[in-house]
């Protein structure tokens, strides 16, 4: 495919803007500043037709949820209802300046207010901020809350955050960003927290624990109440990584498990589209005692009028304005559509789909854990790797030829040759059947002709790419 720059022709352009109806400043004889731009601005020079065809070609070379199943573990790639997008594109939302007077943005404040109530109820929290723009941003924010809490008590010796070795990489990275030292603790065989290791790790220097539950191997940690108790008893706080909330929403609440603060990934659990990697939204909820530290402004209501108030001891802002507001609009629309019953039902179905897939695939594949899983499960391709030299990556790439997005590869790190599969609740039994038959056929082929699998994909426009070259000799922009 040509780059848009390769479609550029000098002098070609679209005619978007009118002529200037006031005296012209900033160009020619009236430069804005002596220090005007000198280097040429080599943007593409293309027609609207060029743009339409270029991006049609790019879209055709992009696999979206609309193209087929997307069982990417830990990413909750459910179907994105179109209504949410339509509502978020209402001019009554998109054409609102964030610095308008309060009385002219009652609808926006109302949305934030209601979203806070809804998502607090789902998580069992008391207050929530929508400033964080993504999950990792939420983690960082949550850790700053924990830091602010300890600092407010003059408890400055708590410098460590405990993170299980099965955790998402963002957890330790966020802890570092918040100025903490990371204590990694090992997991049990079941991928759960090793209570003894935890007990050994906690102490007077423990600022808190970061955990996701169900954990990253798809299991619910039965000791959760014990875990949070141990941390609390040491004086630390418990942070819930909401990446896996889809499994338990409406069934169990982080707040009831003993967590003090939590982030949600609205773009996962609440079905706002991922946009190829964003914009997301990572609101952070917390128990009442942490509420005064939240970033941004609190939205309050009195007699049907919404207004902003300062948090008493806010950690400050983590982003300008109110966060990814339109994403919140989508998530609220989704949550209001489902209601209490629908939210629980989504979790039930997500877990049922995962278990159904797990049981069916067990006929050929080796599961890293044998228990009933939650919304996702982890397979290990270690046997295939050893016997046939066919890796998890090879199996994943072979799936591409079936029009199916592969599962997450090589995560969690504690499982060798891992493939993490999360079907979500919006895949039908027929879709699961297609997935199963693709997996089965690939497994069969791996026995018969392992080289075919090792060299997959075969039907895509582009075959496997040389990632080493890309990193060694980085070419990060078009050489104009």
């Amino acid at each position: 495919m040509k780059l848009i720059f390769e479609r550029s022709v000098p002098g070609r352009r679209c005619s978007i803007l009118p002529e200037c109806d006031v005296p012209v400043i900033g160009t020619g004889e009236k430069p804005l500043s002596a220090a005007g731009r000198k280097s040429p601005l080599r943007l593409p020079q293309v027609s609207e037709n060029d743009i339409s065809r270029h991006y049609t070609a790019l879209a055709n070379a992009t696999h979206g949820v609309n193209d087929g199943s997307y069982p990417l573990g830990s990413c909750t790639m459910k179907y994105n209802p179109k209504l949410n997008d339509e509502m978020a594109s209402l001019p009554g939302f998109t054409r609102i300046h964030p610095l308008q007077p309060e009385e002219t943005v009652q609808g926006c404040l109302h949305v934030l207010h209601d979203a806070e109530r809804v998502f607090c109820e789902i998580t069992g929290m008391d207050a929530m901020t929508f400033q964080p723009a993504a999950g990792a941003h939420g983690e960082f924010t949550g850790l700053l809350l924990i830091r602010a809490y300890h600092e407010s008590r003059g408890d400055v010796k708590r410098t460590k955050i405990i993170v299980p070795d099965s955790a998402h990489g963002t957890n330790p990275a966020s802890a570092t960003m918040a100025g903490y030292q990371v204590i990694n603790i090992p997991s049990t065989k079941e991928g759960c927290v090793d209570l003894e290791a935890l007990k050994a790790a906690v102490g007077e220097d423990t600022a808190g624990l970061m955990l996701t539950n169900p954990n990253t191997v798809g299991l619910f940690d039965k000791n959760i109440l014990e875990i949070t108790r141990i941390v609390h008893e040491s004086g630390g706080l418990c942070y819930y990584d909401g990446a896996n909330l889809n499994a338990v929403m409406g069934v169990a609440r982080p707040g009831d498990m003993g967590f003090d603060t939590v982030h949600l990934n609205l773009h996962k659990t609440f079905s706002t589209p991922h946009g190829g990697g964003g914009p997301g939204s990572g609101p952070v909820g917390c128990k009442a005692f942490l509420g005064k530290f939240l970033p941004g402004k609190e939205i309050r209501e009195e007699n049907g009028v919404f207004y902003r108030a300062d948090y008493e001891k806010s950690i400050g802002m983590v982003r300008a304005f109110y966060g990814n507001f339109l994403v919140v609009v989508k998530a609220l629309c989704y949550a209001l559509t489902l209601g209490a019953e629908g939210i629980r039902d989504a979790a039930h179905m997500a877990v049922l789909n995962a278990n159904y897939l797990r049981v069916r695939l067990s006929e050929a594949y080796h599961m890293a854990y044998q228990e009933t899983c939650m919304h996702e499960f982890v397979m290990t391709l270690q046997p295939e790797k050893e016997e046939l030299q066919v890796s998890a990556m090879d199996i994943a790439k072979a799936l591409l030829d079936y029009g199916i997005h592969p599962p997450t590869m090589y995560f969690p790190l504690i499982v060798h040759e891992a493939l993490m599969v999360e079907p979500t609740e919006t895949e039908s039994p027929e879709n699961l059947e297609e997935l199963i038959s693709a997996f089965m056929e690939i497994h069969r082929k791996a026995q018969e002709d392992p080289e075919w699998i090792r060299s997959a994909p075969h039907k895509t426009e582009i075959s496997r790419l040389d990632e080493v070259q890309a990193a060694r000799n980085p070419k990060l922009h078009y050489g104009l």
């Binding site: 943007l43 308008q100 002219t104 069934v251 991922h274 964003g278 629980r344 278990n355």
Partner: protein
């Protein structure tokens, strides 16, 4: 109750059987009883699509849309070409995840590569990332890029958008980096004060271009001063202005960041927006977040992949420079399509129109009794005094559908004009101002 679950009751039963269970509740047998929710969530009953649409429309109607906007201060009302909206609504772009599987994500990867190229072109720097959350967090990430062990002081010009300053401070707090403000003088950075604050402990200096008051800073002088003491210069730029003012690259900045919202993103009450980041070659590997690079496939075809992942948190974990993974990919796509639709001529035209309209408005407002506060060169924002109470003036304008300038803490007003504001509209604004000011 609305639902997006395709599975019928009968199908569920069949699936449960195969899993070896009799009810979905049994799937949750591993959960301790104490943590299981008793009863239902206390939420309103689920809505049909029609019901949800009504409800969301009701929210939207509680807002007031201003037809005439003369306020910026970090969010700008630019014209968005129709093709931009068309392209970015393509389902593939909207629904895809981060392009981890390069073979079936070439479109997305290529679009990011193109975006990175455009950001390099705008900023005059060597490398750009795939975007971060917004301009303010981009500024904070930029500061993190520049920290070195012995350099813990972070200087920020007082002429910076206060929200950006606050985010930088929040980000720095945890890491014990000291943020110090460099004072302003007559609306722009006091270069002498800057020089006096610089020493070997300063990691970087952050300056905004044009600054919060719309005034053009002397980026080149800042760069020279900072570099003399071994620090880095971060410029926070308005991307439209970059079409006609000296680029960070030309000034000698090490890092350029900025809010990409003016590049085709609607106002949207503040988000989603787009943080762009670019750096000189030296700093390339310190860029946070995702980066797309060009490579070849096993058959020798050009292709694109996420690259330099060794920097990132899912490999480096606690040693990563940043925790960012989700970025604002779709917003970056918007910016790419916007910049393609405008082209070099169009984006320059936008900048010139913005500047021209703002200068016209400033002169007319002065005639109407609102004198400019600063006498320096500005782009498309400027500060005036107000002879009457600012709130009263703005209220009167709002009554007529005009969102006037932003009331600053000192009682002055920060105005903005863009290519969307016609002369007619500005003249109407000015006569309303005259009315209120009793001229």
């Amino acid at each position: 109750m609305g639902s997006y679950i395709p599975t019928t009751e009968e199908q569920r039963q069949r699936m449960l059987e195969i899993v070896g269970l009799t009810s979905t509740e049994e799937l949750f047998a591993a959960l301790p009883e104490e943590v299981k929710l008793k009863g239902e969530l206390q939420l309103p009953k689920g809505l049909s699509e029609l019901g949800a649409a009504r409800k969301m429309e009701d929210y939207a109607e509680e807002n007031r849309i201003f037809r005439h906007i003369f306020r910026g201060a970090g969010a700008y009302d630019h014209y968005i070409p129709s093709i931009v909206k068309e392209v970015v609504s393509k389902e593939e772009f909207v629904t895809a995840y981060t392009p981890y599987q390069a073979e079936i994500s070439q479109g997305l990867l290529q679009s990011i590569f193109e975006y990175q190229t455009m950001i390099c072109e705008l900023t005059g720097l060597d490398a750009a990332n795939a975007s971060v959350y917004d301009g303010a967090s981009a500024a904070a990430e930029g500061v993190f890029m520049c920290r070195e062990r012995k350099r813990t002081r972070v200087l920020v010009s007082e002429t910076t958008n206060p929200q950006v300053t606050e985010v930088i401070k929040t980000y720095c707090h945890g890491r014990q980096a000291v943020v110090e403000m460099v004072p302003a003088r007559d609306g722009s950075t006091d270069l002498e004060a800057l020089k006096s604050m610089l020493d070997d402990t300063v990691a970087c200096f952050y300056v905004q271009q044009p600054n919060f008051y719309g005034i053009l800073e002397d980026g080149r002088a800042c760069a020279e001063a900072v570099h003399e003491r071994g620090g880095k210069l971060i410029m926070g730029c308005n991307p439209i202005a970059l079409a006609i003012v000296e680029t960070p690259g030309e000034c000698g900045a090490d890092v350029a960041v900025g809010e990409g919202q003016p590049l085709g993103l609607p106002l949207s009450f503040g988000g989603p927006y787009l943080g762009f980041m670019a750096a000189s070659r030296d700093m390339m590997r310190k860029l946070p977040g995702r980066i797309v690079g060009e490579t070849v496939d096993s058959r020798g075809n050009r292709g694109f992949v996420l690259t330099l992942q060794a920097r990132e948190q899912h490999i480096r974990r606690e040693k990563a420079g940043s925790n960012i993974c989700s970025n604002e990919a779709l917003c970056a796509l918007i910016a790419s399509v916007y910049l393609s639709a405008m082209g070099p001529e169009g984006i320059t035209q936008t900048a010139v129109l913005c500047a021209s309209k703002a200068h016209y408005l400033q002169k007319e407002l002065e005639k109407a009794g609102l004198p400019p506060v600063y006498k320096k060169e500005f782009f498309h924002e400027f500060v005036t005094a107000s002879p009457v109470d600012g709130k009263r003036l703005l209220g009167a304008l709002e009554g007529k559908g005009f969102l006037g300038g932003l009331l600053l803490p000192d009682g002055n007003l920060l105005w903005c004009a863009t290519e969307k504001n016609s002369r007619e509209e500005m003249d109407e604004l000015v006569s309303l101002v005259k009315e209120v000011c009793g001229q």
